[in-house]
Symmetry: C2
Subunit: 301 residues, 2 copies
């Protein structure tokens, strides 16, 4: 495909970021990749990226758009405003899509700093998992100005199947994503609780998985994550510690709204317990390991 | 369609039972309907049932199979073993499919009594909701003898898209269904918690619904039940009190297995609170009404 002159840098080439970057390439956009992980950089370069680097400084002035898919606000602040920060190197009018799951307060602060430098911001968390990212079919829950939506249109078209415009106010995207994560996190924890109970009751987990995924007890997360449990493979696509963070954002949000959380508080404790038991860097389905005295499938069985 | 000589009675014409009975008719089986609700009987008769009645006694000897879709074990015992009980009127060798959600102990006791009378039993809870029942596509999680599966085959083909054979031991079907209900109940309660938080945060619920159903936070129950919340319509298809019962079976099962339930215990309390607040006979999505000081959509808005 002929390369478009529209230039985009994807910062953070994890499961979601790599998929988004590959989708930009497939859509013919001039694509740059930034990550500290050199293996990820090599993979994206081999797939056709114009350039890859651990720092976007060298091609900052060429960019129309930047997609940030970093883990948390601390990483975003470091990349944009730290020593050798990117925010001062981008041309005025460059659009940044902030797609990490961060708090409303954090996205507002970061957005304000960027806006003061003449940059355009979209508060645009995403969902869909690694497979949807790879196929350019993520869901974007976005808030920002019409100018931000317009400027980012080629990239949004490349990476997303659905782009929801929640409103102009920065922070609405983060709010919707945090509420979404309440569901995602509780569903993983509930899936773990149910599968551990099935193991305890002597029901083969592969059969339990097959039945639930064909019945009304199914969830996107059950179907996606319990496959890892059935296979005994806890190689992380998204880690337990990510949900310690995300459900922490949920509880912070609820506290600020004086709203009682029954299930999400419990699920947050379950992921925190899993992290404290040493499973924080495993796949988030490893939250099932907090249930002792159950026999779970082992990899390669 | 020519009527098959295979004769089946569906006892309990609620949302699931009516759908199953209509599916039997559509498959050409000679179909009888039993319920206390005369409106349900009239509807099934108009659809082509051979006969309908509040009591199956009059045609008990004609039946090859009986599908019981009653609410609880008390109702099953009353129909089968109460005054004028059906169990003594059926021919030996008639097969009964016990599809209510009841405890392992209950299904074992009922099954033993039926077996002693020369009847054949399948421990066969179902899932799928009213729509799948109506289209003959429910999921059956069944345990029982090969003879039971064989004898019930024409009816299973008529009502189900998937029939899982969990094993020969009566009680395994109930166990799997109860674990399934852990997921179903927690998912409804989590959906309610998330949507109430969205309302509190000022996110339009129709938009939140649209986003979640296109993202990884989705569940079968979120998609099915939160439609009722968005429409402000709590007409019961399945009531809050059903989940007070079903999650009660989950907690009983866990207790007997010495298994800790974090989320299901909490969800059980949420449904119980909703019931105590006067919402027990509303649609189970009315569990969202336990969240005060949030503004929910009203019907007809």
């Amino acid at each position: 495909m002929t390369k478009s002159s529209y230039s985009v840098a994807v910062i953070g080439l994890g499961a979601m970021g790599m998929g988004a970057a590959l989708s930009c390439l497939r859509a013919g956009l001039t694509t740059y990749g930034i990550d500290l992980n050199t293996a990820a950089l090599a993979r994206l370069k081999a797939a056709g990226a114009t350039a890859v680097a651990q720092d976007a400084g060298a091609f900052a002035e060429k960019l129309d758009a930047v997609l940030l898919l970093l883990v948390n606000a601390e990483q975003i602040r470091s990349v944009l405003f730290g020593a050798n920060g990117l925010a001062d190197k981008l041309n005025k009018g460059t659009a940044l899509m902030l797609s990490s799951t961060i708090s409303v307060q954090e996205v507002k602060e970061i957005s304000q700093k960027l806006t003061e430098k003449g940059l355009i911001v979209l508060d645009a968390p995403v969902s869909g998992g690694a497979a949807k990212a790879a196929s350019g079919e993520i869901t974007v829950m976005a808030a920002g100005s019409e100018a931000a939506f317009n400027k980012l249109q080629p990239m949004l078209t490349a990476v997303a199947a659905k782009v929801y415009n929640i409103g102009a106010e920065i922070g609405l995207g983060a709010t919707v994503k945090i509420i979404h994560q309440l569901l995602a996190g509780v569903h993983i924890a509930a899936a773990a609780e149910a599968m551990a109970l099935a193991a305890k009751a002597g029901i083969p987990l592969a059969l339990m998985y097959e039945i639930v995924t064909h019945a009304a007890g199914n969830s996107w997360m059950f179907e996606n994550r319990m496959k890892h449990v059935v296979e005994g493979d806890y190689s992380p696509l998204s880690m337990v510690d990510i949900f310690v963070k995300d459900l922490g954002l949920v509880t912070d949000t609820a506290k600020s709204l004086h709203f009682p959380l029954y299930l999400a508080n419990t699920a947050h404790s379950m992921f925190t317990a899993a992290s404290n038991a040493g499973y924080g860097k495993l796949d988030d389905s490893a939250v099932i390991k907090i249930f002792n005295a159950v026999s779970l499938p082992q990899k390669g069985e």
